[in-house]
Symmetry: C2
Subunit: 201 residues, 2 copies
DNA sequence: ACCTCATCTGGACATTGACAAGATCAAGAT
DNA sequence: ATCTTGATCTTGTCAATGTCCAGATGAGGT
């Protein structure tokens, strides 16, 4: 974190831009996001980001890629504090991690799932997104004892679990789940856990 | 639909702007949406929309309001073609209508649920959104025989149903439900129906 | 010492949202 | 018949933005 703004070359501008971009995204939201503002935040010229990310889509794609990585971490973090190795408890933990991420980084969550500004043709992004989803698939595989990629019923479990968590998270972030929004964090978790149990009976 | 561009006053500019706005939204998406482009589409000066809607947020709020109205219509339309009066069949029909709307107007769907550019403080918008959700609540009420607003278990059913449909629709629109996207329309409907049945056992 | 090339700067251009002042016109008041 | 009022729409303007382009800078290899 040592400040060194003497040199013409920044040293690690790409990482600095990504960090600033996340800050700007969290502050202004997707719609208010601006390349020039990100550049200002870092203290470089307005067109410096272009060299590293091409255009706005490029920067947002990189940001979303990092987002999916943290998204995966959030699910794994919840699983790490689970005492048992019970497959159902681990699946629920992933769901709670899913919610943790959405509530902790709402703008990033929205960027990853609800924006046309991200280009999923980007290979790194697609890989990161698939890795996060594969994690849920593995949870189902552990629960069912068979890989969803080889068993249609298990794949249906995956789809049901994804849809349920994501719908709950998205509606909550959109402010459309008023009865749930009135709850405090522990009550909300318990409520979600009960709902989530329906998809993996 | 008679063209009359002779007069200085348009006659029903507000409606014309709303129609053009929906067209522009569908063509360019939310991020590419532009007030000036809408004005151009109607053949009117670039700041004419401001008088009717204030600013961009105002127009999008009006657009989202109309969207929720059609959203409700889509669910009701599916229910109308149901032969039986079976409560479960009617709930499923609502879910399929939910999907119809999302797939038929993806940009509008995204505007209504996933954009910060819409101001839900707008009363008309909030009323339209609540009306659409109340419809699902009534489906559950018919199924359970008790109003969700008076019974916590029934409200949990509503939350589960909302989360499931919305998650399925949102992930499908985001291109994240690859196994489902490969299906044709009838297969997709059958698949969703099977998933949806889990939340109302 | 020189070269090469990735990195970063500064200027330019078209487009946008918002604002302000004025033009146009319909409808009621006198 | 003329005036007034207010809603509707236009024109001009400003700052901000994304993208492109030519050029400045300097690190690392030859």
């Amino acid at each position: 974190m040592t400040e060194e703004k003497s040199s013409y070359h920044h040293g690690d501008l790409r990482a600095a831009l990504l960090g600033a971009a996340e800050k700007v995204l969290a502050e202004t939201g997707i719609e208010g996001f601006s390349l020039r503002r990100v550049a200002r935040e870092v203290g470089v010229s307005h067109s410096a980001p272009a060299h590293h990310f091409g255009d706005t889509q490029g920067l947002l794609a990189a940001l979303a890629t990092e987002g999916f990585s943290r998204f995966l971490n959030a699910m794994q973090a919840r699983q790490r504090v689970v005492e048992t190795r019970d497959a159902r408890a681990l699946l629920t933990a992933s769901g709670l991690g899913y919610l943790d991420f959405a509530q902790g980084s709402p703008a990033l969550f929205q960027l990853m799932f609800g924006s046309e500004r991200v280009d999923f043709c980007d290979q790194a992004l697609d890989r990161a997104a698939n890795a996060a989803f594969d994690h849920l698939a593995q949870d189902i595989a552990r629960l069912r004892g068979v890989s969803p990629y080889q068993d249609d019923a298990a794949m249906a479990d995956v789809m049901a679990a994804w849809s349920m968590v994501h719908g709950f998270a998205a509606l909550l972030m959109a402010g459309r789940l008023k009865p749930v929004q009135a709850m405090d964090a522990p009550a909300r978790e318990a409520y979600f856990t009960a709902l989530f149990a329906r998809v993996a009976p």
